[in-house]
Amino acid sequence: MKYTWRKTPQPWAIRETQEYYARMAAKGWMLDERGTRWDRYVRSEPQTLQFWLEFTQSAKGRSAFDDPDRIPEEQLQLYEDCGWKLIAESNSVHVFAAPAQDTIPQPYDMGDPQQDAMLQQLQRFYRKDLLVFLISLPLLILLFVASGLAPLQDTLATWWWGMFWVLGFLHSAWHSFYGFQQMRRLRRQLCMGHWPTAHPHRCYRIVKCSLAVLSLLCVLTGLVQTVLSYDRRYPLPEQTDGLCLIPSELFGLERTAVEDSFLAQLDPSQVNAVRIDYAFPFYTLYNAQEIADHDDLNVWQDIYVLHWDALAPSMIQSLLESSTFADAEGYVSVEIEGLDGAWYVPGGMEYIAWKGNRIVYASVHGRQHSERLLPMLEATAALWSTDYS
């Protein structure tokens, strides 16, 4: 079997398409499969045929079990009885062929139901796109609002998948707009008694291709960023109930479980929603007690695993601004070997450590807590450098 593929003619150019298929059959290429973008032709003897494109009519009076995209079996039988053979079908379009003889009756002897059915199909098609557009619009707004609007710039510049979503949204908007224009054009042509013809619609293609290329670039950039940031995913000491960066060696701390009843009392606002957008999973509320002298030193830590490193500055800013016991101005940046960044509150209770795509935010409560922040940061860095993989 020898095949060839040709671009599927535009669905509204019905007569042109029928004539095109007839020309191909005369050249010895018989339509074999009709696709949404490409038609497949099979090599055959040159034949003089006439073609007919039948669109699925409206569903009125049809059984609920009928395939909405397929013409009913009874209609198919009628066509076959009259000499029309179903050659190919796709997306509600059925292509029939018959020998080019006067004895074969034309499917319709009055009116042009093809045009009406074709318009119905196109309208249905474009309406679906419009629906996607209308649904994605509030979702996109919701995403930005949930992100807190402030990191909008981050969302657009750094979230490759966010950009991909925006481009998908633009694509949907463009397609809906084009569909609206296209329907208007077709109706105008039909009102004037013209059969719609194929047209190049270059503008539509240019915009569509540009959006597709940009989407592809976004995906590729995202993949590259993921690969680049993969090496920076420093393993953390993992214990049975999750990741832990509390330097247990220091001050004889022992990690203890947090009781559920205590967790239930916590104010959910302690975990800022913005952080969730930046971080993949986050681990929060670990309790460690100093057992050396049974003193009540507690360390609470949140560990955030970011989608990728570049989000860290935004995440740290968010943590500084929403810090529980100090203002952002109260924090002091400090250089600690082995960390990409470290902040603590002199005389306070909190510190932040950053390395790669991980950030730990900890608050220390208890006796001499302020004196212990820097040693704990240093111990954290040392602990982090240990290979736990």
């Binding site: 009874e74 039988q77 009628l78 009885d81 499917p107 319709y108 002897d109």
Partner: protein
């Protein structure tokens, strides 16, 4: 349905004097009209669906993909009513023919 019937509808009802399936109806219509009316399969299927919805015809028998239809009482009444209407039209225009002959 109100108003006059289309020619195609009239002939389908005429051809359904005896129950038949779509393709047989098309051939019957050609015979009745002496080859003047040649109905397409798309038109025929559309009319059969429409008439079934109007309760002018009913499904008599279903043999796989072929379905045999028969006239209902409503359909017969509609056909007779249309026949009378056409007779009136011919009667009203008969003087033109008579004037042409004299």
């Amino acid at each position: 349905m109100t108003g006059p019937m289309t020619e195609a509808m009239y002939y389908v009802l005429l051809a359904l004097a005896h129950p038949a399936h779509g393709y047989a109806l098309m051939q019957q219509i050609r015979t009745i009209s002496n080859g003047r009316v040649q109905m397409g399969p798309g038109t025929m299927y559309g009319l059969l669906s429409k008439m079934q919805n109007e309760d002018w015809i009913r499904l008599e028998e279903s043999d796989g993909r072929r379905k045999t239809y028969a006239l209902t009482e409503t359909g017969r009444a509609a056909l007779l009513s249309e026949y009378k209407r056409l007779q009136c039209l011919i009667h009203d225009g008969a003087f033109l023919y008579e004037e042409g002959e004299t």
